[in-house]
Every structure is written in structure tokens, then in C-alpha cells.
């Protein structure tokens, strides 16, 4: 656990360290939590280093590195006598020094001054930890040089010096036996991927043929906007920071109408502004992909933290009645596959498709084997129009062939007013009824195209734990820690509409437990509304932090 002030370089340290560890044969996972400020306060980064793949947060801290005085304050209940506190004496709270906690004093402040100043503390600590874990110095040297390649020679050289100095210190600690780390290495992980949820959504979007992104910055969704901005030229994507989310949403709809494949990326409050446009997507039957990165509300809430409390916001937002689809990836693999899928589903059914993530999902990094690229990337559903073309032709499954202006001789008339088949305003009650029914028929087709939940564990389970979205890894690991063969885990990566067979899995369990990162179990409420099934046990968390492995294991143990 690395803990320090905002602006202290923790993110830089995290980025380089994860790569150094992975390339040295360790599986890594990291989760950062930070305050909504640019300087000061206290931010922390948890890094798990392991011989096998892990991707959930731990309450336990094996090594704690404070970066400034006061950095330990928020971790009092997580630092135990098993925690090694490594760092500068002046950064370690007195109680730990006095009460015999295992402490490895390293004069970090003095060493940093020696290489040029306090600003090098992060790279110095990087060196120490790399030394402790037996990373090759040549690899560390290369990674530091790469990272600071654009910062000028002096900055790069000083950072390399800091890394070396730290590395010597770390190696010495290891050789002298002051710190002993027992972690297996794996040869295969060196060739694996190291990425986070932002990368997954971004790459999934590119693979799904995204050509247009319009958004307004808002944590934690901004990373996705930045991802696309950096790829705009290479992949031919129009990326626009709109004046507000209302504009962003309407731009996305304009782009789809004209043949683009557009994405908006936002969070709860920004999405609230987009809701008017969601209804417009519903009436004009314009496809749309919305990445909704959740954070705790209401209103501004906890801007930089995590929660799963916008499921109902996504589900019930928008005036009037129209179909939609909500996906909630739990793994990086799903983040990639489902974002790609979202573009195809939106285009196929001409409906809004949500990708519901959260800060924990987006900003957790870990190693994984591979991302499977399907044979068919972006499926195209637009047609070339002729002079007789009607945008809203009534069909059996409700989906009208979609033309775009400028491709064919037809006129493409899209209307937010109720309209006839050609797209012109009508108030005829027969036409109104036909259009409502046509739009709603699409939901039946979407339901058939739904993604079933995934079952982890024994097929002949007695009890079931149900979760969705970002809780996948932590629940899976908690159940494996508990080693209960009678309990299985059902994870939903599509939360609406529910797959028709989903309820069978839940119904036949003796005890049903729901786990959600919110206060009112919104998904349990949705399941009850759709199936009548109630949950006997609920594990809920709404302090702005993701679930930790031990919390889940203990709560499951007490409920089962």
C-alpha cells in the first residue's frame, strides 16, 4: 500500500511499477483511490503482486509505504502487527514506532534530497520495491527512461539516478534479510496483457467501429474520452468535447443519424443532463452507445470514488416508453467484448445501449491472458435508400431498415414528434398506437439476443450469490477462499433486459444472496420486479470504496 499526497507522483510510480513487476514474471493488480483535489490530502494505491492472477482489493496490507507525515492516518484499522511499515522515520506515526510494529526504516527523504529533491521520492520508492522483488536493474532503467523520454535529459537522468539509488537500497534490504518476500513467479505472465477498464472500453469501442465520441469531462468517465482523443487520428474518430452533456448527447445522435457510430461517456450527473436526449433516441429510433461510469451520488456526491447506484437511473430515465439495453462488464475481457457488442446491438435494434461501469472497474489495472477479437468486428446495418424509402416502415420485429442521408436517393426523415412511416408529424391515433407497439416490439427481439449470466462454481449448488458489474472478481475470489462447494456465484454482465433463463438459476437456490455496491440493492429490486424472486441476504456497501476480499468472505460466511 502506497499512501501519500495528491501530486506526489503515486500514479507515475504505479504505472512504471506494474510494468516492471509484470515483465519480471509477477501477476499484478492495482487499485487507486484518490481525493477530489489536485494537491495535498491523501491518496493511496494498493498493489497486489502474486504468482497467480488476482483482481480484487484486499483489506490486508503486507507492506505499507508512507510518502509523508500523516499518510498512515486513514489506514489505522487496516495496519496490523503483520504489516511491514517501510519508509522514512519522520513519515511513520509515533504509535507504530512505540508499539513494536515491524518497521523497516529507510531514510527516503534524505536519499531523495541526495538525488535532487523530494520530487524524486516516488521513483526512489519504485527503485526500493523493485530491488525487494528482484526486478532486473536493466529493466527498471529502461522503463524509467521510456517514461521520462519526453521530459528532457536532466529530468530523465535524475529519475534514473533515483531509481538506481532506491534499487540499491531495496537489494540491500533483501540480501541482509531485513525483508523477505515470498511470491512465486510465472513465466507466462511476462507475455500477458496489463490494462485497466478504461483501456477495455476504449479498445472495445474501436473494435466495434466507433467513429464519433462527444462528451463533457466528468470523473470517472473522462479516461475513456482521453483514450479516444489519443486515437482520433490513427483510427479516424471525430472526438469532440461538447459545451455540456446535453450537446454531447445530441451530437452523438446527429452522428448516428448521418452514418457515424457514436459514443458518449459520462457519469451520473452528466447523464442526468443527457436524459432528454435519451428519450429523443427512443422516439427517433436512433442507435446510441452510452458509457456510464458510476460514482457515488446524489448530486456531486463523492466525485472520485466508486458505487453501483445508477442502475435504476439508467433503467428508468427518459420520458415515454421505449426499449433499451444495459450491459455491465465485470472483467476487462467483458469490458472489451461488451463495448464492441454494444455498438452492434445499438445499430441492429436502433436503441440506446448502456455500458454501466464504475470507478473501481475503470481504474483497476491487472494482468490477463488475452482479449479475443471476434471474426466479425463492426456489423453494419445501414442500407442504401431508394426514392420510395420510409425511415419508420412498420415491420414484424419492430426494426425498420435504417438509411442515412446521402447514401442512396431516398429521403431520411427522423422525427421526435410522433410520426408516420415516412417520418412526418402525425397525431393520428391509429398511427400513434402502431408506432408505440412497433418500438416496444424491439424489446422482445432484444431479450432473445441477451447475454446470459455466468455461473462460477458447482452446477449443483445449494445456495447462490448474485452480483453484477464490477464485483465479479472480488466475489469469485471470496468464494474460492471460503471453499464452499455448495455455493455458486451468478454474475450478470447484462442487467437489462434479463436473459429469459436467468431466473431459473436463482429460483432453484435454497438461499439467495445479492451483493451490490449501493445502499438499496437496486438489482435485487429489478429481479424481484421481473421475476418475483426475493433475496434472503444482502451484502451492500456505499462508503465510496469497492468491496474488499475479506469483507465479502466474512459477510458471505455469516450469511450462509
Amino acid at each position: 500500500m502506497l499512501s501519500g499526497e495528491a501530486g506526489g507522483g503515486l500514479q507515475t510510480l504505479e504505472q512504471i511499477m506494474l510494468r516492471a513487476f509484470k515483465l519480471s514474471g509477477y501477476h499484478v493488480f492495482s487499485y487507486s483511490e484518490f481525493m477530489s483535489r489536485i494537491r495535498g490530502g491523501n491518496n493511496s494505491t494498493q498493489i497486489r503482486v502474486s504468482g497467480k492472477s488476482t483482481a480484487s482489493c484486499l483489506r490486508r496490507i503486507d507492506i505499507f509505504v508512507p510518502f509523508n507525515a500523516g499518510a498512515m492516518e486513514r489506514f489505522k484499522d487496516r495496519i496490523t502487527h503483520e504489516t511491514v511499515i517501510l519508509g522514512d522515520r519522520s513519515y511513520i506515526d509515533r504509535q507504530y514506532l512505540e508499539e513494536g510494529y515491524p518497521i523497516v526504516e529507510v531514510p527516503v527523504a534524505e536519499l531523495a534530497r541526495g538525488v535532487g529533491g523530494q520530487v524524486y521520492t516516488n521513483i526512489l520508492v519504485l527503485g526500493i520495491l523493485c530491488g525487494l522483488l528482484g526486478v532486473e536493474m536493466s529493466l527498471l532503467d529502461e522503463l524509467v527512461r521510456q517514461f521520462f523520454a519526453k521530459s528532457g535529459d536532466e529530468s530523465m537522468n535524475r529519475n534514473v539516478d533515483a531509481a538506481k539509488k532506491g534499487y540499491e537500497t531495496g537489494s540491500h534490504l533483501l540480501k541482509s534479510g531485513q525483508v523477505l518476500l515470498v511470491t512465486k513467479k510465472s513465466e507466462t505472465v511476462k507475455h500477458e496483457l496489463l490494462m485497466n477498464g478504461i483501456d477495455a472500453i476504449g479498445m472495445g469501442g474501436l473494435a466495434g467501429g466507433c467513429t464519433f465520441v462527444s462528451s463533457y469531462p466528468m470523473s470517472p468517465s473522462t479516461g475513456v474520452l482521453v483514450f479516444f482523443a489519443r486515437k482520433a487520428q490513427e483510427f479516424g474518430i471525430v472526438v469532440e468535447q461538447a459545451e455540456d452533456e446535453i450537446s454531447a448527447m445530441n451530437m452523438a445522435l446527429g452522428s448516428w443519424y448521418a452514418g457515424g457510430r457514436a459514443l458518449v461517456t459520462t457519469s451520473g450527473g452528466g447523464y442526468a443532463l443527457m436524459v432528454e436526449g435519451l428519450s429523443l433516441a427512443g422516439c427517433t429510433e436512433t442507435p446510441l452507445v452510452i458509457h456510464l461510469g458510476q460514482r457515488p451520488g446524489p448530486a456531486t456526491g463523492l466525485p472520485t470514488r466508486t458505487e453501483q447506484a445508477d442502475l435504476e437511473h439508467a433503467l428508468y430515465s427518459g420520458h415515454g416508453e421505449f426499449p433499451r439495453m444495459i450491459l455491465a462488464p465485470g472483467t476487462i475481457e467483458q469490458g472489451f467484448a461488451l463495448t464492441l457488442h454494444a455498438f452492434n446491438m445499438a445499430d441492429k435494434y436502433q436503441v440506446p445501449v448502456f455500458i454501466l461501469t464504475d470507478q473501481c472497474f475503470l481504474e483497476s489495472n491487472y494482468t490477463l491472458g488475452n482479449l479475443e477479437i471476434p471474426d466479425q468486428l463492426n456489423e453494419r446495418f445501414i442500407i442504401e435508400t431508394d426514392a420510395e424509402y420510409k425511415r419508420y416502415t412498420i415491420t414484424e420485429n419492430g426494426v425498420s431498415p435504417r438509411g442515412i442521408p446521402g447514401f442512396g436517393n431516398g429521403l431520411v426523415c427522423a422525427d421526435s414528434d410522433e410520426h408516420d412511416e415516412a417520418g412526418y408529424i402525425t397525431e393520428d391515433s391509429y398511427m400513434r398506437t402502431s408506432m408505440v407497439e412497433k418500438r416496444l416490439r424491439k424489446l422482445v427481439a432484444i431479450e432473445k439476443d441477451s447475454i446470459p449470466p455466468t455461473l462460477t462454481g458447482n452446477k449443483n449448488y445449494r445456495h447462490i450469490v448474485v452480483g453484477w458489474g464490477s464485483t465479479f472478481h472480488v466475489v469469485k475470489e471470496a468464494l474460492s477462499v471460503l471453499n464452499r462447494r455448495d455455493v455458486s456465484f451468478l454474475h450478470f454482465s447484462q442487467v437489462y433486459p434479463l436473459h429469459p433463463k436467468a431466473q431459473e438459476f436463482i429460483r432453484r437456490a435454497e438461499k439467495r444472496i445479492i451483493i451490490e455496491n449501493n445502499a438499496t440493492s437496486q438489482f435485487a429490486r429489478l429481479i424481484k420486479q421481473q421475476t418475483g424472486i426475493e433475496f434472503e441476504g444482502k451484502i451492500l456497501k456505499y462508503d465510496g470504496m469497492p468491496f474488499m476480499l475479506e469483507d465479502v468472505a466474512e459477510k458471505l460466511d455469516s450469511l450462509l
Binding site: L193, A207, G236, N250, M251, I373, P405, N409
Partner: protein, 287 residues
Amino acid sequence: MGTVFDFDHSVDVAWCPGCGNFHILASLKAALEELEIAPSSIVFVSGIGQAAKTPQYLKASFFNGLHGRSLPVASAIKITNPELTVIAESGDGCMYGEGGNHFLHAIRRNPDITVIVHNNMVYGLTKGQASPTSMRGFVTPVQIGGVCMEPFNPLTLAISQNASFVARAYAGDEVRTKDILKKAIMHKGFALVDIFQPCVSFNRTNTYQWYKDHTYPIDDTHDPSDRIAAFSLAVRTDRFALGVFYLGPGIPTFFECQAAYKTDPRPLYKHTVSREKIESLINAKRA
């Protein structure tokens, strides 16, 4: 005389007899016909209101969206397929009230679109309330003591923000309106045409006669590249000039700023995904 933009069937028009919108529609059809633009390559984008119904009454593609939101939609359509002629058309309430923020930022963004605003200084469809351009003292069922706010001046605002084309027309003068619309549509960049439009049902102040008495054509000596002169013309409220006020010189368009079209200049619907590029992006995460 019919144009290629007329329907071959009768259309049930929702405007009052004598409405200024009929003149604007006629000028618009004539302008497009004279410019020889094919109906299938034009997209109208409108919001909500009586003016926003205009695209329903001529043969062209349209996206009739939400109140106030036509400019983001129009900007995105144009940037998604630069080969289309895109015209955003709505009323003063839609463009300057509900859509005020989009108006400001569309000027800054400078998409290559024409923005036609039917400015009748009143809300028609909601039956007679004040609009952003209603004059001080204008009495309505809501502003019962008369409007007590400064009227929104779209021209001074657009000129102050260095908009690339700023013009005003009067619906009653179909020929001049047609000529201004032609210039606006041919202009590369954001082109604002504010059109004074008499509302015969809800605005008994700003009538056909009132507009005749209070407007005059900009004379030939005006240099539209002179921003200060344009601004001076636009701030006048005793009498209102008609014509092209301002042409912002050399302002980059939204299209010209796009990295997206540097590698592939075709419209976005012709862009395809390269599996190799995706694979190499993924593989970069192994290093």
C-alpha cells in the same frame, strides 16, 4: 411555379394564414433550386416550434429533434458526412432561448452549416408568451406588465464572437431573403441568418407594416470584413439593417480542425475497422 422541393401531394400545413413562415419557405425553396442542390444531399435539422416544422413542408431529409438542440445535431451531422448540405432551422425561442448555450458554442466551433432563425419576437406554438427577442414592454399572458428584460441581440453576439457569416433578412422581402440565404448556404463555415418574421396571431406589435417601417437594406458601401462597422450596424435598435453584416475572415472550420479526417477524408460511414490495428493496440499492452 413549382420547385424540385415541392411535394406532388398536398400538405397539411400547421401555420396560420398570412404567417411570415410561408414567405421564408418560398425563399428557401427558391434559393436551394437556384443553387441546384439535390434534395437527397440536404439535411434540415430543426428543434421545436412553428418554425421548426418548416422541414416537414419541403422535399429533403430532416432530423426534427428537441427544443433548442438543433445546433449540436446539425454540427455532428455535417462533421460525420461533410458531403451533405446541412441547414439548422428553428425559431428565436428554440435557437436563442432553450438553445442559447449551443448557439454560443456553435459559433466558436464553426461547423460548415447554415443557421436560419425565424425571429418573430414571440412564442407562437405555446400561444403568445415572450421570447428572448421580445421588445421591452411587450405585453403577453405571462409578461402581463410587459417584458422587463433586454432583448437578445443575436447579431451583436455573433459578431462579438467572430462568427464567420452574420446576416439578417426580413420574411416579407422574399427576393432579398432568397439572395441572403444563397450566400449563407454557399459560405464555408457557420452562417447565421436571422429572419424577421411577422406573427399574425400573437404579435400585434411587430407586424408586416412595422417591419417595413423599421428596416432598411444595408448599403453597398458597407464592408462586411469590417468587424467594428458590422457591430455598429448591429447595435442599432431604432431601425434595423437587413443584409450581410459580417464575414469573419479565415476562421478554421470544425472540419479543418479534425484529426479524424487526416488519414481518411471520406465520410465516417465509409470508414472501416482494421483488425491489424486493433491487434497491435492490444499487443502493445504486453510490453
